[in-house]
Symmetry: C2
Subunit: 349 residues, 2 copies
DNA sequence: AAGAAAAGTTTGATCGATCAAATAAATTCA
DNA sequence: TGAATTTATTTGATCGATCAAACTTTTCTT
């Protein structure tokens, strides 16, 4: 009753030594089968669980990864990060890793948190989301030799092939390329794109997917293609406005692709002809209102992140870049096609 | 270079003993001012940070709270829990508490996780969300003497005043009462309610807020009030359908209140006359499309949860219910009023 | 079957911090 | 001033697990 049982208690009960109990848990292979069974029985009997902190102190490994919970600036699209977080937690659990949250108000503040969590041996590494060009966080982590993986490739001047910067990203080009193709195969010819102003790493990437697919078909002149594109900041009402602008400069189009579900939702509202609209992120809203959308495969992203991260701090020899292993993963997103079922627009008319 | 500095290193540098360094960090009051300054200087100089695991091992306290990351079944409304999680993490951080995530596929699975995290001394307590009538989780936690606080009051047969069950909840009655009042003061008389089928703890509570406010005014007969109510499951398309049904059974109404933003969004779509619609949860979607909504004050909820939780495991004497302290908090939500600005419905016509 | 090698198990030390009790220094009191 | 207190600081033990090395048993050679 004096608290939880310890290795010593188990050892006593099984008639072996502490270390053998430890071995049963950590390297069962080196323990003789019958001894192992005896120990395992004792563990079960006593309901023994290793004390996480004690283990971490001795092994100098926390088996915990830190991730910053974003302030959710971007309402609708923010849910991608949620789904990612969920997938990450689930898969981390499965390999005995814990996920520790923290918040920060700025990149600088986040660096302070990195230091705090790392110095206190709270975490073994970090997962970063929403990277941007010239991100000071990655530089700091590299300089301080702390393991990390980013969800999002290095943008701008940062080297995408820097072996010290591990990353996983979703191939936005491919996502929009496929979405464009899908509309083309359904008979659409004049397909418009509502996107974000350049430069935007992810945004430019997605736009290029649409652009390339359109050029490959070659059914639309360059001049017309220019008219089929509208640029705006993200948001639902911006999407609606963009859709109206599109109407003015290009008339009725055969289909519309958007850089985000927010834009797509907005576009859908100003769309009495029910021109097919495809969004990006496959958020719950898209599912709810029946928008086609490009789904970032967060499960695969999470798996990739964990693989790279554990490879990093599992390989103990920190700083030894085994250059044969790939240092990043580019995930191909999936297009989810939906009917306009959920919004009976004729009711609104 | 041999890793991070320890208390011993600091002690050596400051010319004092380990324990004094420890005292400077944990009970600065008992250290003489000049000694303290010397130690503090050494700490800064060496960049010392206490090793979290070592401390936890010795103190038998993890300073960590566990929370399950919900599977996000309910797309749109799920974001309330996100905002709560964010607020919780932020405020926990401020008091030196960490937030550890886990996932579970069922209440039973969640109990397994409770056991794992508690036995491993990974966490000091739990925060539960989405409680329901006859929740096995709370019973189990109480039986095992594990600290926890729920976001959501005990429903059904469970005792709301059970001193062992600490909870924080948002007063849905008050939220809908205020929302109804607001529409009434703006001149509305026949205000409809689209809600969930009974029994639903939260749902019934919200409905009653509308119902009571309507009765207080007494401008609508009981018979008519019945026609002003539509019941449906949650979801955007259900909201649209409910709105149509409402139209049939009650004609044009002066305003509509909904049990969730999902329903409200749906209702808004089948609403060519732009009758004021008010949702619940104040999700990003509501903000985006310009829906009025009842905002659950997640910051206050988070603060309450932490207060109760730290009071619980801070008070060491576990199981001694200091009955003078309140064992729960009921937070009053805020109504956020918005214009229909974001959806220019005439465009869609 | 004796000696070498391999496999299995145990013992003592250690991770870094805090607790508990002992000692030293400063303060109060008679 | 010297004893009695109070305050400040130090020393040794400990939390629970794993590491490293020593030791014992089994298996393999020749």
């Amino acid at each position: 009753m004096g608290g939880f049982p310890t290795v010593t208690d188990v050892a006593l009960a099984a008639g072996v030594s502490r270390q053998t109990v430890s071995n049963v848990m950590n390297s069962p292979g080196i323990v003789r089968a019958d001894t192992r069974q005896r120990v395992e029985a004792a563990i079960k009997e006593l309901g023994y669980r290793p004390h996480a902190s004690a283990r971490r102190l001795r092994t100098r490994r926390s088996s915990t990864i830190g991730i910053r919970l974003d302030p959710m600036i971007d309402g609708i699209s923010g849910s991608v990060l949620d789904r990612f977080l969920h997938a990450l937690t689930e898969q981390a659990d499965a390999q005995g890793l814990r996920v520790l949250l923290f918040t920060a108000t700025s990149p600088e503040d986040e660096i302070t948190q990195f230091r705090r969590l790392n110095d206190g041996a709270d975490v073994d590494g970090f997962v970063l989301t929403s990277t941007f060009a010239g991100d000071p966080r990655t530089r700091w982590l590299i300089e301080n030799g702390i393991s990390f993986v980013t969800f999002g490739r290095p943008w701008g001047a940062d080297d995408m092939n820097d072996p010290q910067h591990l990353w996983v990203d979703v191939d936005g080009w491919s996502g929009l390329h496929e979405a464009t193709r899908a509309q083309q195969e359904a008979g659409a010819r004049r397909i418009a794109y509502i996107g974000w102003p350049s430069p935007s790493g992810t945004g430019d990437e997605r736009r290029r997917g649409w652009y390339d697919a359109m050029m490959e078909r070659g059914e639309v002149s360059g001049e017309e293609l220019a008219r089929l594109e509208v640029v705006t900041t993200d948001g639902v009402s911006q999407g609606t406005a963009a859709m109206q602008r599109l109407r003015q400069q290009a008339g009725l189009v055969d289909g519309v692709l958007c850089a985000s579900d927010s834009l797509a939702l907005g576009a859908m509202i100003a769309n009495p002809e029910r021109v097919p609209v495809t969004g990006y992120d496959n958020t719950p809203v898209a599912a709810a209102v029946g928008l086609s959308s490009v789904d970032q495969a967060v499960d695969e992203v999470a798996a990739g992140v964990l693989e790279l991260l554990t490879g990093e701090f599992g390989g103990k020899v920190h700083g030894a870049p085994e250059s044969d292993e790939p240092r990043h993963r580019l995930i191909t997103p999936r297009l989810v096609v939906r009917e306009f079922a959920a919004i009976p627009m004729d009711v609104a008319r």
